[in-house]
Amino acid sequence: MKIKAKLKGDVTEVKVQAQHEMLPYDAAKKKGIPANFITYMTATVNSKIVFEMSSSQFLSKNPIIKFSFKGAKAGDNISMTWIDLLGNTVTSDAEIR
């Protein structure tokens, strides 16, 4: 996962790209492999959840998501985790600048 977190005033803007095929059911059927896509993603800063998303197969391939939140300072660590339909999970960290 590529994470960029930038502090602007008291708002932290985060841009994240997850590497994932996001294969919907129809396309998976054609290919003869199981459908798989990110179903749940969170971001945590100072052990508080600042972003939470439940998602379906209709996010784009390698989805890029932007979101904002308040309450972090420069130098804080942001930790993001996703889990997909097949149960794979990836966690990445970045520093808020």
Partner: protein
Amino acid sequence: MQRRKFLSLGAIAAAAMVPASLVAEDFRATKPDVWTSHTVDDSIKKLYGSNTFIAEGIKLTAPDVASNGGAIPVDVSSDIPAKSVAIFQDANPESAVAVFTVREGGIVDYSLKIKMRTSGTITVVLEGRDGKLYSATKTLDVALGGCEG
């Protein structure tokens, strides 16, 4: 040993008493029907239990014509204090795209890219902290459908 056991029990009890607002909610687990619904109305009803909206207060931006249906940029922002924000569309076999949980003091300002097979309408529903539902829609043309993978 007795005391240690007692203390560890206390720690478990404390962990179980975390306020509900801090507990994560995976809507795929708690509301599985939302994700298999074939119409936007049905999906929203299963998520929020109502189909009555106030059609204001949300800024929804998407192109009028999307050249690539595999990655349509969608921006959602609002100043309404929100509990959650959900995105739906009516071009694909199922309707739900994503549900965001907004924390206390959270900001509703999301950008993401979604897939649409054909031209259709994107619907965004915001669940306010006042218990009301707000919505916005955007109809767009999709030049090249994006669900074939």
